[in-house]
Symmetry: C2
Subunit: 239 residues, 2 copies
């Protein structure tokens, strides 16, 4: 019997992978990773140059990404079938081999792996190696601590309605907004409503060579890359 | 000119240190770390066996920890002097050598290093290496993802008043309560008030040999170790 090892790869810089994840990747005879069809994929890019010769790769290509609204029945059905299919294939493969599933960031923190995990749990042995989250990479890149002693930190999906975003931003010492992309105009409006616009920072591609840090107040709407978060630092309570 | 390198060591298992942090630790000629007087210290324990022969160690021992209330003027004054003193010493040392400051977890996420960082910023070169947070180690240990797609995750200090804890627990898909320790009875009452007690899990010493996972509802009050968090998993919104 083999097992599924999900290796959290961290925020982007391969040097920020854990010792255990690096060993799993370097020793893998079989790997699998999600990607958009026709793209190299962020997880695969992080391990470039680390794979053993002859390592067999399974690229799990999303049937849709941004072509359909994520809450449409077509999108949900397509993704459901996709995860079911790959879970079934990995279950068969894991009967007689170990497979390392690559996952950027930390697998159990908003990671796509959980859609496989929930389907494979109890059927095959699964090991999850935690990773440095993308947001940790981003706040470290700003050169300022995200939270001090008694701060409340809220992690918000950018998909929330504006009023809800604004209320929660206003009630938190520090916050991180995930899934910015097309939601940036709404996020910016919520920041202004909450009185936090001047303080808010956007970090794109944190820790990678394309890293970019900008004040949200100074950004153009069309200028928001997909792998970006918005954050506001805490520390107002600090001793 | 030398520099200060703050190495995030991750949640406890040395194998979960990043490649970059491991290299910094193994190559260090000078290290510094916080600890309670008379104890080995959690950060120092993580690097046991990794230090180069002859590495010089500066143990920065807290003048007080739990003997005084953290909001008392005496506590605040003692800590202030302590951080001022060590910042001044590290500034002098860093004039002609690199010093690796060890930090469990992720330095910019509720880490003590920020008290040195705020005093040394602009005076000496500082590099911060992010780490896997203690909470990531803990939720990975539970074997269940902490957050799915559009979940809101709130990080709460256990020092908040009970009503405030309960309100925020009730409004979050997933949450993590830091600084449990003596606050456990209050946290448990808040969980019950928010209708989340049955779901809540305490994880102590996540990823270390002493790791322990228990349902909060089944725990005895006197049984709560210091290095513990309470968490509730999200996923109610999952597709």
């Amino acid at each position: 019997m083999g097992k599924i090892i999900c290796a959290g790869l961290g925020p982007g810089d391969p040097d920020l992978m854990s010792l255990r994840a690096a060993r799993a990747v370097q020793g893998a005879a079989y790997i699998a990773y999600f990607r958009k069809a026709g793209r190299p994929g962020q997880a695969r890019r992080i391990v470039q140059g680390l794979l053993a010769p002859g390592c067999v790769e399974y690229a799990m290509e999303y049937p849709v990404t941004t072509e359909l609204p994520a809450d449409s029945p077509e999108y949900i059905a397509a993704l459901h079938e996709f995860y079911e299919d790959w879970a079934a294939r990995l279950e068969v493969l894991a009967q007689d081999r170990d497979i390392v599933v690559l996952c950027e960031g930390d697998p159990f923190f908003y990671g796509s792996f959980m859609h496989l995990h929930v389907r494979l749990q109890g059927k095959v042995e699964i090991e999850v190696i935690p990773g440095i989250t993308g947001m940790s990479g981003c706040w470290t890149a700003t050169g300022t601590p995200i939270t001090w002693g008694n701060d409340i930190l809220t992690i918000l999906p950018g998909t929330l309605p504006q009023a809800e975003l604004a209320r929660r931003m206003g009630e938190s010492d520090a916050f991180v907004v995930m899934k910015t992309g097309r939601n940036l105009p709404k996020i910016r409006a919520a920041l202004a409503q909450a009185g936090r616009l001047e303080q808010a920072v956007l970090v794109a591609h944190g820790t990678s060579a394309q890293q970019r840090i900008a004040r949200v107040a100074e950004m153009k709407e069309e200028d928001c890359p997909y792998f970006a978060i918005v954050l506001a630092h805490g520390g107002r309570n600090r001793a």
